[in-house]
């Protein structure tokens, strides 16, 4: 018997409705509106309303549409995070689009659609819904990656992302089929009683894991990342590195928190994934001379750090106690938050300094930046130090909590490996800082003039800088919220 969904159900997907609605509105208005600032404003409004919608949805929490979507504090957090990211990305894209003479309306519409996809992904409680979210965000992303149509690299990025991405989604879909075959449902909250030893379930989950690992750029499924990050327009790269990653990790967490996955098998899978990813990212980044590629490899490495917390989630060690794996969940969430803030800020600066056609993205072009543009250099240095994990930045506490989670679960060796990776990472972050502050510009870089930073970009930077410092000095409140409220299925 089919009944019409309860009105509350629509409240619970309010952010997605806003994002999609504004995306379509922008597309419709495109022929009539000439001002790109107005379009930016509309997109920003959409993003902000998404945030407001999240608040409303959070107050009316619960599952929607017969359990397809779950609005709990967990997805509340991710929706807020994603709407924050999208607002920052929209702001940083404005001057970029103007500089590159790109069409604004389609861009913002696609960004909003991708955002809606991420929202669905982080709220989905049913695998096919998750698949729809994944596809929505992915397909918009493929287009966005190739948005600089004339640039060869951008098209290459798009094609590469599309081919590999659809391959990965196929894995994901096949995984869903196998899980369905084994448990008889695609709804996550009905799977908690499943027998974790079943081969079919294991196989299905493994395929799902592979599909999602591709999206978060975990090794050995990370090879697309540097090329796509480099080729895509930089504001899009900022979106890629923060949004889909957070949403996909949200889905992964939800799956592995509900499905009985606290077994050695999953623990070792995450252990190996984490170690591979950290090393792949950090070692790869060591030899990069292009800022976008360097940050791309760094984001692979950071996915590895998050996976360390995942390994902590899946250990048996602290299951059954009143705390469960909660500190580890909180660590993942906090990490993603700090990471998103910093990455968006860093890519915004890279985008702004890139100059027309993004020609100035090599490390050499950053020589003497501290003299030329002291504020931009200081902000970028702060972001890099946060990625490095130096105290009084958000990144430090992100890393700190992951460390803590790992050690809580007695994963001392994994913590040590992560420590080693942090040091490798320190080298290339320092390399950039050294270039900015200690090297004199040579060759073409010597003739560079300071690039003016428009208001929109400055807002992004102020928000990221203040956020980075705030979460670096007073992470307690946020963490408490994450620890005690964002407990999703662990509360079972």
């Amino acid at each position: 018997m089919i009944s019409f969904p309860h009105p509350d159900d629509f409240l619970r997907v309010l952010p997605e409705l806003f994002w999609c609605g504004f995306g379509m509105l922008i597309m419709l208005l495109q022929p009539f509106v000439k001002s790109r600032h107005f379009l930016m404003f509309l997109a920003l409004l959409g993003g902000l309303l998404g945030g407001v919608g999240t608040m409303v949805a959070g107050m009316n929490g619960g599952s929607a549409f017969y359990g397809l979507i779950q609005m709990d504090t967990f997805s509340f957090f991710f929706h807020l995070l994603i709407s924050g990211v999208v607002c920052l990305v929209v702001l940083s894209a404005d001057s970029y689009l103007e500089r590159e003479h790109l069409d604004a309306a389609e861009f913002y519409a696609l960004v909003l659609f991708a955002t809606a996809g991420m929202g669905v992904l982080s709220g989905a409680q049913e695998l096919l819904t998750a698949f729809i979210g994944l596809e929505l965000s992915s397909i918009s992303s493929y287009v966005l990656a190739g948005y600089r149509r004339d640039a060869l690299k951008s098209s290459e990025a798009s094609v590469k992302y599309f081919l590999l991405g659809s391959f990965a989604t196929a894995f994901f879909l096949y995984g869903i089929a196998l899980v369905y075959g084994s448990t008889g449902t695609t709804q996550l909250n009905l799977m908690s009683g499943a027998d974790p030893g079943k081969v079919l379930l294991k196989l299905g989950l493994a395929l799902i894991l592979i599909g999602l690992c591709f999206k978060v750029a975990a090794a050995p499924f990370q090879v697309w990342t540097p090329d796509v990050y480099e080729g895509a327009p930089t504001p899009v790269t900022a979106l890629f590195s923060a949004g889909p990653k957070a949403a996909t990790f949200a889905l992964l967490l939800r799956i592995f928190a509900t499905v009985p996955a606290a077994t050695h098998f999953w623990f070792w899978s995450f252990w190996v994934l984490a170690v591979l990813t950290m090393f792949a990212g950090n070692l790869g980044a060591l030899v990069q001379t292009n800022m976008k590629r360097l940050l791309a490899y760094s984001s692979i490495a950071h996915a590895g750090y998050v996976l360390v917390a995942f390994a902590a989630v899946t250990t048996l060690a602290d299951r059954g106690t009143d705390l469960g794996g909660i500190p580890a969940y909180a660590a993942v969430l906090f990490y993603l938050l700090s990471y998103a803030l910093v990455k968006v800020g860093a890519f915004t600066i890279v985008s702004q300094l890139g100059g027309k056609g993004e020609k100035l993205t090599t490390l050499e072009d950053y020589a003497g930046l501290s003299q030329r543009q002291p504020v931009a250099a200081a902000a970028l240095a702060l972001f890099l130090l946060s990625l490095l994990g130096l105290p009084i930045t958000a990144g430090f506490f992100g890393k700190f909590y992951v460390f803590k989670a790992a050690i809580n679960s007695n994963l001392i060796w994994l913590a040590v490996l992560m420590a080693i990776n942090s040091i490798i990472g320190a080298y290339y972050y320092l390399k950039v800082i050294v270039t900015m502050y200690m090297r004199e510009p040579s060759g073409e870089a010597a003739a560079l003039a300071p690039v003016p930073f428009p208001l929109t970009v400055n807002i992004v930077l102020v928000v990221s800088v203040l956020g980075t410092l705030y979460f670096g000095l007073f992470p307690g409140q946020t963490l408490n919220f994450l620890l005690h409220r964002a407990l999703i299925a662990t509360a079972r």
């Binding site: 420590a419 040091i423 090297r439 992470p475 963490l479």
Partner: protein, 528 residues
């Protein structure tokens, strides 16, 4: 005058406020920037003198404590766990803070004219460095300690990397990576400790381990934890095989950087050993003592031998630091009250003497822009005043009685002798060698005929330089004669460390007992 309750916070953040004020000045106002920075640093020094009243003679435990819950990290069974903003000072940290606040204005004066580019940033960096260092010495919360320990790296790296000499970038990166490699392992250790004790607060952890050492879960864990902390500190000291960053950093750093690096930063390592390694992990410290002492002795002799053959004056001083710090580590790891007192004194004495040596080398560099010894020779003729002061400092560094170097070395050797005479014998070789390399290099630089024509017309010490050097020499002399002023005040802190080390050892059944340990514990009893 009675120090107020928030003296420690003021001490830590006053330079930060000062550097913010500096940022407000225009970058072209060089003279005002220098003056303001110097005023801030001097005021900071005067403020820090209040500590002498804050830590009265004969007091034990921490004084002037400040305790504010800062970040709630977890909640177990309804009990919240906090990272605390916990500061405190005792006889040990007080003098290290004083050393820092004294040397910061001195090194500012020393760079008055020698630093010419990006002057504003230079002084801001120096002040921020001071913030970090004082924070390290005053933190009583492991997390806070780690935070300052890491934050301090960046200004130091900038000092080396921006205002240093030719290979400055290499040296700066090497410095950061070495220190970070150690400290990140220490972070793992800190978290592990938190995991077993449920707190980051040093006194609380100390108490918890004292009451029930079993929570560590076996000697193996204690050893691993000890190593996590010890390696971080050993890199900073630096202990023998981990010292390779030091010569590079010293040689490439500007004078002010070298002074702070040698005088204060290295002491953070030995301070950490005294404050954390020994009291928290006594058994591991005892069992590792033989290895540590051996490395320290190798460091003493190796550092001295390398210094002996150095053609580069600054590198020579740098290697002499490796040698002198070896003494400190040796003194600490004999666990003998006298030797540990000596180690603390030597930390301060080395800070002053080596700081002064670097200042002098920097002054020579300002005149000739080279550190090569063979570029000098016979400088006593054109520079009589400078060479006299140089000799004074050299003599203090090689341990002439009545000057500061003697007290520390003598106490260390005396205490070590009581524990193990062979160690003392080996270490004494270092004393002889230090006389060799210091006097020989002094002779090559200042005595004989003037070999390089350019050197004839060099200007002697200016009034600014004389002021700096006289101040340093006065401290050297005062520490040599009035050493009991310091030793009486550090005695209780050292004794506390010794008492904290008396913890029942792991059951004989749980871990195999090594012959070395039995021997050591017998000797410990003997010294009572």
């Amino acid at each position: 005058m009675i120090p107020s309750a928030h003296l420690l916070t003021v001490l830590i953040f006053f330079p930060a406020v000062g550097s913010l004020a500096l940022l407000l000045l225009r970058a072209e106002d060089h003279e005002w920037i220098r003056r303001l920075a110097l005023t801030v640093a001097t005021a900071e020094f005067l403020l820090s003198l209040l500590l002498l009243w804050g830590v009265p003679l004969g007091s034990s435990g921490y004084r002037l404590e400040e305790f504010i819950p800062w970040i709630k990290v977890a909640m177990t069974g309804g009990v919240p766990h906090y990272i605390n903003y916990h500061l405190g000072v005792d006889g040990l940290s007080m003098f290290l803070v004083l050393l820092t606040t004294l040397l910061t204005p001195i090194s500012m004066l020393a760079s008055w004219h020698s630093v010419e580019k990006r002057i504003k940033e230079f002084f801001v960096t120096l002040l921020m460095l001071e913030v970090g260092i004082i924070g390290v010495f005053l933190s009583l919360d492991l997390f806070l300690f780690f935070l300052f320990w890491e934050v301090m790296l960046i200004p130091m790296a900038f000092l080396i990397g921006i205002w240093g000499h030719e290979r400055r970038i290499y040296a700066a990166v090497k410095f950061v990576l070495y220190t970070m490699a150690g400290s990140i392992l220490m972070l793992v250790g800190i978290l592990w400790l938190y995991n077993v004790t449920g707190t980051f607060d040093l006194p609380a952890i100390q108490q918890a381990l004292q009451n029930n050492p079993q929570i560590l879960g076996g000697y193996r864990n204690e050893l691993l934890l000890f190593l996590a902390f010890f390696i971080a500190f050993a890199i900073k000291v630096p202990l023998f095989p981990l010292h390779t960053w030091l010569p590079d950093a010293h040689v490439e750093a500007p004078t002010a950087g070298s002074v702070i690096l040698a005088s204060v930063l290295l002491k953070m390592g030995t301070y950490g050993m005294l404050r954390f390694c020994l009291p928290l992990f006594p058994e591991a410290s005892h069992r590792c003592a033989w290895w540590v002492a051996t490395l320290a002795i190798i460091g003493i002799i190796y550092g001295a031998l390398v210094a002996l053959v150095q053609p580069n004056l600054k590198k020579l001083v740098a290697y002499s630091s490796v040698s002198h710090l070896g003494f400190v580590v040796l003194g600490i790891f004999t666990f003998n009250t006298i030797a540990m007192q000596g180690a603390v004194f030597q930390m301060l004495a080395h800070g002053i003497s080596t700081g002064a040596l670097f200042l002098l080398v920097g002054m020579l560099y300002d005149r000739r822009h080279t550190f090569e010894i063979n570029q000098y020779g016979g400088l006593a003729t054109p520079l009589p005043k400078l060479s006299a002061l140089f000799l004074f400092v050299v003599l203090s560094s090689l341990g002439l009685p009545m000057l500061n170097g003697f007290v520390g070395e003598y106490l260390i050797l005396l205490g070590t002798y009581q524990v193990k005479w062979t160690w003392a014998a080996w270490a004494a070789v270092g004393v002889i060698l230090s006389a060799c390399y210091l006097l020989w290099s002094y002779q090559r630089v200042f005595f004989g005929d003037v070999t390089v024509e350019k050197n004839r017309s060099l200007a002697d010490a200016s009034s600014r330089e004389r002021f700096i050097l006289f101040a340093m020499c006065a401290v050297i002399l005062w520490m040599g004669i009035g050493s009991s002023f310091i030793t009486r005040r550090t005695a209780n802190a050292v004794e506390t460390v010794r008492q904290q080390m008396d913890r029942p050892s792991w059951q004989e059944g749980s871990a195999p007992t090594s012959p070395a340990r039995i021997q050591l514990s017998v000797e410990r009893l003997g010294t009572r």
